[in-house]
């Protein structure tokens, strides 16, 4: 898509945001009664639904049981109507399997699995509408769902995708920016300690710009963590009002 200016001279992006602005985040916890924990999160136009079951006994192959910690099982899928063109294979293709592996890796680092040996925690995430930053929205939604399920975590896991255009890092990319050939970096961060749970980058970026990009990603993630914290506290308030405490 040549000719589409990703960053105008006045510093405005395609959707009118400034370079460091995140998209509007709206979230709701406890959306399903059946699951142990569930959450719905919207980041701009990207909508993700996350559901957590667990910790429960190992299902499936008993041989995969870990004797000292819980096994985290993630499944990522996209609804067929989530993209502009109907997706023919929502799960089982390579990209979805790769995303599921990345989610598993992210949450294995953050969830305190040593407290639940020989058990399994399932995290299912579904993208209902995809407008860029799929991985980040999934991680944020899954964090809320895990908190809703009451599973202890070391810290919030916040993720954000940043891109690099005209020597400026752009926080929270939308689909048009991602497909415009911009170097994008997806980062999952535990904000308090500044520890990176997952780092993924595509497309060419000069080594000197790497540090600026990672810094911008970390700042964006810290912004997301504030929003998530707000959502969790509000949900707890609502729930405690309902139960009359």
């Amino acid at each position: 898509m040549a000719g589409l200016e990703l960053l105008s001279d006045q510093g405005y992006r395609l959707d009118g945001r400034k370079a460091t602005e995140l998209r509007k985040v709206q979230a709701r916890m406890g959306v399903f009664a059946q699951a142990d924990g569930s959450a719905y999160l919207e980041q701009g136009n990207t909508k993700a639904l996350a559901v957590v079951y667990g910790p429960h006994e190992m299902r499936g192959s008993r041989s995969r049981t870990l004797h000292d910690r819980a096994l985290i099982n993630c499944q990522y899928s996209m609804a067929t109507f989530s993209t502009a063109e109907r997706k023919r294979r929502p799960h089982g293709d390579r990209k979805s399997t790769e995303m599921s592996l990345h989610l598993k890796q992210t949450f294995e680092a953050a969830v305190m699995t040593q407290l639940y040996p020989r058990s399994q925690i399932d995290i299912y995430v579904k993208i209902l509408q995809s407008d860029g930053g799929n991985y980040s929205t999934c991680v944020n939604a899954a964090t809320l769902a895990v908190i809703d399920a009451g599973i202890p975590m070391r810290d919030y896991v916040c993720a954000c995708t940043v891109g690099f255009v005209d020597e400026t890092p752009l926080a929270d990319l939308c689909y048009a920016e991602e497909s415009g050939g911009v170097s994008s970096l997806a980062l999952a961060l535990l904000p308090r300690g500044g520890q990176i749970a997952l780092l993924q980058m595509d497309a060419r970026l000069h080594q000197d710009h790497l540090e600026t990009l990672i810094e911008a990603a970390m700042t964006a993630c810290k912004g997301v963590s504030k929003v998530l914290d707000e959502v969790v506290r509000q949900h707890l308030q609502e729930v405690s009002v309902l139960t009359g405490e």
Binding site: T97, E98, L101, H102, I196, L199, A203, H206, E211
Partner: protein, 358 residues
């Protein structure tokens, strides 16, 4: 078939050795194993040896219809096969986690970084384009399959020659290699991946892990760069938590390693070109080392001899006296002497006490 599990003492030994900055094969922390690149008889066939890890890449092309949203670009397709030939742990059925991971990493490293000019692969816009297919087979797994695959893939792509085409209006004629010389692909840059393995929750870092080190590692960071110091892809895997400084340090180390490896690849390509011109023999069979015993001499292997005598004496002194191997013999029996020459000693049954030697 499941792989034999690693015993606890082996794991502890490896981790302790890494803590003391020692590796099993005597390498330093940032050293790569010996890389050897050979080519097959056809253009586009390449074998890469990274230590004992052996990987083969083959590039092929065919004319297909282009994708609808990109009518004047060619198609690149990558496929990594993990066959049980490489390791008993790999199973024949596809889509194991490792297979998906390697495939996706290679795709992102080579396709998203646009190392090949796909527009030059277009023959008739919207109707016919070249599809370049890179097939990579693991022949032997001794750790670090990702780096070996990326070196093999990019070298095979640099080595490959596609047939020339002639276009007359709508007619497309593909010329055979005898009619017209095949054309090399136009490659912008060569992305090479460098793998870093982390141990003990990110305290220790090793470059190019071998298979044993891979079994005990906590996580892996893969950085793909080209020699112009542009990062083509970064991927962290395993449940480790990294700090920004660690990532920056790894990227600096990666840039040094990548320039070395790129030089090696260019030299190998030049050598092969010269060999083909001179009409020499080339191919897979030639690349296998002739393992005939012509002399009783092995290569010098470096060994650490620091304080060996003191430590040996120490150990011997501290050890207990060995228990007697056999009960003391009666005096009328003769002791069999332990001689250094090869000797067969038979105690003659009829004449007790007499010893014959052969």
């Amino acid at each position: 078939m499941k792989d034999t599990p690693l015993s606890n003492c082996e794991r502890d030994f490896l981790l302790r050795a890494i803590e003391e900055k020692k590796r099993l094969d005597g390498r330093q922390t940032y050293d790569y194993r010996r890389i050897k690149i050979t080519f097959g008889t056809d253009y586009g066939c390449c074998f890469v040896d990274l230590g004992k890890t052996r990987v083969m890449a083959q590039v092929s092309c065919e004319l297909v219809a282009p994708k609808e949203n990109r009518p004047n670009e060619g198609i690149m397709f990558f496929n990594i096969e993990l066959s049980p030939m490489a390791s008993p742990a790999f199973e024949q059925g596809r889509q194991s986690e490792l297979s998906v991971k390697l495939n996706r990493q290679l795709e992102r490293c080579l396709r998203n970084s646009k190392c090949i000019d796909t527009e030059s692969l277009c023959v008739v816009s919207g109707k016919t384009v070249w599809q370049i297919r890179v097939d990579i087979h693991m022949l032997n797994n001794d750790g670090n399959l990702m780096d070996a695959s990326s070196i093999a893939a990019i070298t095979a792509l640099c080595h490959f020659r596609r047939p020339d085409v002639g276009i007359q209006g709508e007619e497309v004629t593909v010329y055979s290699p005898e009619e017209r010389d095949p054309i090399p692909l136009s490659i912008y840059h060569m992305p090479i991946s460098v793998s870093f393995s982390f141990f003990q929750q990110g305290t220790y870092l090793l470059v190019d892990p071998c298979e044993r080190e891979e079994r005990v590692m906590d996580g892996l960071l893969m950085i793909a760069m080209n020699k112009h110091r542009e990062i083509c892809s970064i991927q962290s895997s395993g449940g480790i938590m990294l700090l920004k400084e660690q990532v920056m340090r790894c990227s600096k180390i990666a840039s040094v390693k990548v320039s070395e490896i790129t030089e090696l690849i260019s030299k190998a390509l030049l050598n092969d070109k010269a060999a083909r011109k001179a009409g020499g023999r080339c191919g897979f069979a030639e690349s296998m080392p002739q393992e005939r015993i012509t002399a009783l001499k092995t290569e010098e292997t470096p060994m650490e001899m620091k304080d060996v005598t003191e430590r040996a004496n120490d150990i011997i002194q501290k050890a207990e006296a060995p228990p007697p191997a056999y009960p003391k013999l009666n005096d009328d029996r003769e002791n069999i002497s332990d001689s250094e020459e090869e000797e067969v000693v038979i105690l003659h049954p009829e004449i007790p006490g007499k010893v014959c030697t052969l």
